[in-house]
Symmetry: D2
Subunit: 447 residues, 4 copies
């Protein structure tokens, strides 16, 4: 599986901000399960390795009517404790905190520049850079320094900044990562995905526009400042895999997008079979679309053990690990031509075991259908596409991969098919095509 | 949700029994999430409140090539630490341990009899009774004492007994609860469900027959002893809700049974609608059957947050709690006549919120279809059907319940429909009909 | 060091009994550091491995105005979780709990008798026996059953029994272990040592007489029942080592008794030296007496690291472990004839390192003076005198032990000297003389 | 009690540096009990709130043959997790770590200067400053940058710096805080106090001279660089209270110094009494000196509960808290004129309770004798002398304080007496006299 970097959350002017951040972060837990943290009120900080429920204890009470929060799966920086976000620091513009989703391809450039002025870096994150630049900004007023900083760093970020006088939320000019805010009780709530806001009952939920920062200040309506006018490039992998199916992004339902991909996948491939089997949970929306378009019935041929912990004790080959997570139901697949649907293939080892288990359970033929194009290039914007060499599709043809996986057929959705499934969104396809938004155009090259 | 009592596990003559028990118990975690425990080798005990992964630490090594294990959701006895199973005790037949799934309607009778002999009870479980009776048995040999004890206690139990010379596994004469064993490496493995054995790669998996105890002893093939010849009455709720979909019971696939129930449910009700929506995860197999039989497309209209912890912080009405667990996808349900499928209704409060949320998301009409009959009577055999007064269906008509739930229609599967879905199994329908197997027949009444 | 079994505590009719038990047990922590537990109110139980502060959390609130508690260092039974006291059980006389200090030399006799009636034992403690006998007693009334039981079991016990209608506290007929009670706020408090009651501000503190049980019941003054008239034999090792110096036992201050031992030790040995050095903390009271009697100045030649944890990481010989705990101050001992005072010697290995370190620090001569007689016999009454073979003094002469320890002189207090130091108390000297109180007299022999 | 800031530790070129740091830090635990941390090998970091044994787990293995460590009681900066030392950062001279004992009166000056260059501060410690200045130093070579930095910051610090190429250890020019190093196995070990090195068996232990940094580098003997020639001013409170009695500082045994103070205290005051009672553990060395000089016998009149946790549960006045920690032995003090010896008085509330408890236990008269002068001024060098207003001696005369404490007499050692007890050391008496070393002389004023 590809792994998403982070989820971010914020609360402005609502009593018991700590508790609300806990609830929002629970709704973003799928975006990062390695560490969690919040900064609340007068910079009270609660952070730690582990799930939201382990770190942001429900029984605690931290005073404060505002705060920011973060869940993390490390993409840059090891998983060490000092890298847990939000990060807070004393800056020239006062005490500040940051919670950041995304990675910065230009990070080294900025770090070197700052180190020449003697700056030191106490974390290994890209995110610390925002605070250094704000502190170093030629503008005295903190809000101006924030805007100046966002103008310097092209991408990729969805960001929440915390200051005693304001909260600022921003998305880079391409709008690569999602960010939403809405009304809640006496104030406002902020989250990477709208589902995490709907879950707590927020209203008037809207998306932060690309290249825009929205400031929340005392005795004033939230106001936006536009700092960039690049063309939108929302991350296509948010649609394919990362975001919750019950979220939306750029106005399109994630579940709907995946359903569309399943529909397109059938239309492009016209695979005939007896039964459609989703790989739970990632393949289910696509499988429903495929079944709908093809008329081939969908059934549960692979059950998922939801209580599976992080590790099995027994000395086991990877194949055995898969078996504990996904177990075939022989009655469903026996004697059938099975079409297995998943969102993507990373290394191919898991799919190889699935195919083998289905055959052992009596499947007559096994077709693997992936509702996205092959991932051939690394992502520099916050998705852990693993090192290039580990991407199954980067080093071999689809036919070679089919053999490695052991399937009778292996099909992918085309890039055009994906584009249609996204209903015309101008999305980032860098991991499929290798063309990176931040390298385009006439801007000053930083390297 | 109705809550299952327990899952039990055993290992005989396989190296690293502790580790294997961990793996089997993970596969039974759905049967009990409140406490876990194992007894291994020379009665080394590891027990605690919490999930398998929290209690049976993977990094530990406990020597021993045999052992028994247990996961528990309390039905009898509070959740206190002293009630965690397996229970071990010094008895007149030597040191013994027990892991038990089921509850004993005659427990009080036996406790009173033993207390008249001065016995004391250190746990609040029914399960401790087995050790008292074995110790008090007129037979000196431990194996004979075990058989004598099983003859005394009618039901309900699937049971694993641990002794320095043997492991004994048994099911009561009605076969109410499931129990399986299979070959694994140099010895044997035992579990409440076959899926938990398939998951680790066990072979030649078979069911313990009702009224039978199987002894595992050194230098000898496992041998069965029959101690009862009552007619089989397997628990129908194992099929409806408790067991894993990828398990089987009495030769019938659990998923298949639920799929059948969905099919029968459509055949009986002929409900017309635009879309079939399962309540995840309990309703999915039935919804697939319903969709298959009706031709009405199935889709995900309610997403489930899988990272949800035990509690939300915010002061919340129950309705809000449901929203955090199950969130509608408006694009899927808007403007449609939605058929919501679930396995059962306990209090009705959850379903009421689901119906309301679907209407808020634009559903034109909401039909609730339950793929089992109304639960009207308490279970005395190990299922937490809650107190009678809390059973929605026990105190009101289906029409009243429909109003309470707020649905446009509410339909249940008939008892005959359920019987057909079970493909003729002689199952226990006590919670639907109020006729209890242990009160039937010509046996001596104990009260 | 010899290790004491246990400390016990009780509260009757005082609000927030849980909290008061916590405070009393803290004052008894020196009597057992392996596990702690309380039973409060309606048999609410909090137990665990570890120190009082780790188990009986201060921030918790457990309702109830009565309860019993226990701290434990295992003497009988491994340190397994199931052996943690207090033990509670459903008995024929109702729910009961027990907290017990002492061991029962006749335990096996009683266990065998009970197992013939089919009883089973869920703990490995002697203490569980009290509940079995009470349950099996021919008397129906719980209080009568308690008195009958105490008449059966000769020694050694200081005991607290918990019942919904009463608390009963008792000492065996020899009065081997201490037990005190006093007034506190609206009710009464109970503890193994009076210092633990003085610490919380209890008043009218008095000792439970040997062979007596005191019942605390509703709407009634506490009343004693005498059940035995054996001659008193208080444990001399409570005076020598176990009890807190600020406690008393049988009317004699523990510190005073040790000071007396130091005085007698000088009077018997007339050792000349330049400086008296206590082994902290066990030897300090005796060293003060020795210095006082001899006029030889006392000084700190060995400092103790009070933050020392349970284990050092570095691979280390035992000698190194001692060094981390006790470090010489060269300025104090250099060039001097040093008299090292301690309460006792168990294996002799620690003292050997002390002598060596003092010589390395420049001591001219090292004399070791022990303010008790050599321990030559095992204790069956609740003191961990280790297995006989490990008692340095049991297998070798004092001269051989002196050589093993490496001292220039090694002297012990005589048994008569000890008797005088105890100011005429009739104490148990079984570990010095091998004559055991429970084997004396004309009573029926149980074996 | 006054509370010491920190203890620091280091290991160079010895296998299993993590384990050795654990052992050294255990020997420094008295210098800081709030948090602990180590940086080992390739900047592997283990840090946390709590005692050494809770944070630096013995069972872990962290590879590396060098490292630094820290224990902390917060003086500057709240006790938040982000302030735990050692601190590591990416600097212009490479990755670096710092462990620091002391506080910097000029910290704000430097922070402001650096923030004008946009620097940000992720901790609230003074210690982070060292890394900023090293990174900002005009010298490229890391070792040169270290020396330059030490020249900028006058005091107070004992310091260990960690770099992939070296460890550097330094004391400020006044030598206010202690720092020692010695040989150990294949390399070297470093600690705030020599006792922590003697404890593990280090050899050739020597003190880092004031104004000197010693570099440990590969394939080279450790070499010193002198960077300051201020006159020595070792902290007199290390002698009076902070350091272990078995340590030395500036060549004088801590225990000896305290013993001297007790001797001088008698010589100055000539108090007559019947018995000398130390307040454990702080007053014992002084009490021994006082008893020795006066011939008045010393005895234990106040016992200390060594198992006392951090908090009592019961709602209690402060007086009750003291009683749980220190309990009088009536037999010792009854009817006597008692001389209570302690090292210092901070607020006076504890001593007030002690005096009252002694009177309740029968003391005829109570004299309080303090073996140091009244603390009248705040410390800026790493000792928590609390806010000025809380210093009992800063706001009132000794006679007023005597009344507040309730003693029949209250005497202090004179400053001259202290000077003599330190055998002529040129010590810092700022907290007694208000003359601060860092404000003396002809150096450039920073403010």
């Amino acid at each position: 599986m590809l792994r998403e970097a982070c989820g971010i959350a914020g609360v402005w002017n609502v009593e018991r901000a700590y508790n609300i951040l806990h609830d929002i972060l629970l709704g973003l837990q799928h975006r990062g399960q390695e560490s969690a943290g919040v900064v609340v009120g007068n910079f009270e900080t609660v952070k730690g390795m582990g799930l939201v429920e382990e770190v942001i204890k429900s029984e605690r009470y931290i005073p404060g009517d505002r705060g920011i929060g973060h869940v993390r799966y490390s993409t840059v920086g090891s998983s060490a404790q000092r890298n847990i976000q939000p990060i807070i620091a004393q800056t020239r513009k006062g005490m500040m905190g940051v919670a950041h989703n995304g990675t910065l391809p230009d990070a080294d450039y900025w770090k070197n520049w700052l180190m020449e002025m003697g700056h030191i870096f106490l974390t290994e994150t890209d995110s610390e850079l925002f605070l250094h630049l704000i502190s170093s900004s030629p503008f005295d007023k903190a809000q101006d320094a924030v805007v100046w900083t966002l103008q310097q760093i092209r991408c990729a970020y969805s960001l929440i900044l915390y200051h005693k006088d304001f909260i600022a939320i921003a998305r880079d000019g391409f709008g690569i990562r999602p960010l939403f805010w809405g009304k809640f009780e006496s104030g406002f709530v902020i989250a990477s995905e709208d589902a995490a806001l709907r879950v707590i009952g927020a209203e008037e939920i809207r998306e932060v526009p690309p290249g825009t920062v929205v400031f929340f200040e005392k005795d004033r309506e939230p106001y936006p400042v536009t700092f960039s006018n690049l063309s939108k490039r929302v991350c296509s992998f948010e649609y394919i895999y990362f975001a919750r199916p019950d979220s939306t992004f750029d106005g399109l339902s994630i579940h709907k997008a995946r359903f569309n991909m399943g529909v397109k996948l059938f239309e492009e491939t016209k695979i005939e079979g007896d039964i459609v089997i989703p790989v739970l949970d990632s393949g289910i929306s696509g499988a429903l679309g495929f079944s709908y378009a093809s008329g081939i019935p969908i059934d549960l041929g692979l059950m998922r053990n939801r209580y599976l912990g992080r590790s099995f004790i027994m000395p086991s080959k990877r194949s055995e690990t898969v078996r504990r997570k996904l177990l075939p139901i022989p009655e469903v697949v026996s004697g059938k031509r099975v079409i297995v649907i998943d969102d993507s293939i990373v290394r191919g080892t898991t799919m190889n075991v699935i195919v083998r288990m289905l055959r052992e359970s009596g499947a007559k033929e096994v077709y693997v259908a992936i509702h996205s194009p092959p991932v051939r290039f690394s992502c520099f914007y916050g998705i852990d596409t693993a090192r290039r060499s580990e991407l199954a599709a980067s080093s071999q043809s689809v036919e070679d991969l089919r053999k490695a996986v052991g399937a009778d057929r292996l099909v992918y959705l085309s890039i055009d098919g994906l584009r249609e499934a996204l209903e015309g969104r101008n999305a980032c396809f860098a991991c499929f095509e290798g063309r990176y938004p931040h390298e385009e155009g006439s801007r000053i090259s930083l390297r």
